[in-house]
Symmetry: C2
Subunit: 140 residues, 2 copies
């Protein structure tokens, strides 16, 4: 893979990762459903929970989470793509609203029919919340 | 991939996963070092900690863990392979000795030079320990 193609693939994976947190924040189950892979083996660890396996069970859990009336403004801080050909994993930290990130997260994506789609999510508690990075312009 | 090839790949990934817990339990840093990928992008979340990125930093952390004088007999219960071509992720639960598993785990492997090698590990606490599955022969 050329450097340019690598950079483009990383950007596409980051966009898919951002789409996940947008669907989560907006309670958009249709978008969440489109995001998860159709054919690849799918699994999900919600924080401190046992694993859910299979598209049906994973999406059922997200439907329940997204149905909650109190919306969470979820974000992924310091998202970093690790590209493995047509598979990629993203590491980062999940936070809600203006709060510091409180969960470590791994999101795994696969290129399915030309689109990066999620195959796995694991979020788990951090021992200490992680403050958002403040840009230099905000510091000075 | 044929069904037979798929089964063989799953068995090879499970063997690599088992090799990780054996190296961990035996404090065998050389084996741990051989297990992690040489070229692919490598990362690791130890329980409740921030991510470590890059082979050198990840292996430095394992050297420190394996140096501890009190050996941990680590095992991975209910290991399940999710095969994505030449990448695979394993979900399971980590336990120590005879104790119930207390960590949810994702291990990601990549086929490098014909060998499944680890590229990512995330372990995080379960809300409730998960008892080991007891085989029928032990029940009856």
């Amino acid at each position: 893979m050329t450097r340019v193609a690598h950079g483009e693939a990383e950007a596409d994976v980051l966009a898919a990762n951002a789409a996940f947190y947008r669907a989560f924040s907006e309670g958009d189950f249709a978008a969440m459903s489109r995001l998860w892979a159709e054919r690849a083996s799918v699994a999900c660890f919600h924080p401190t929970s046992v694993v859910l396996v299979g598209r049906a069970r994973v999406l059922e859990s997200w439907k329940e989470i997204l149905r909650q009336t109190s919306r969470l403004e979820m974000r992924c801080d310091r998202a970093r793509v690790h590209l493995l050909g047509e598979v990629a994993f993203v590491t980062g930290y999940e936070g809600n609203g203006s709060q510091s990130a409180h969960l470590a997260v791994t999101n795994v994506f696969v290129l399915e029919d030309g689109r990066w789609r999620m195959v796995h999510h694991q979020a788990g508690p951090l021992s200490q919340p992680l403050p958002r990075l403040v840009s230099r312009s905000q510091v000075n």
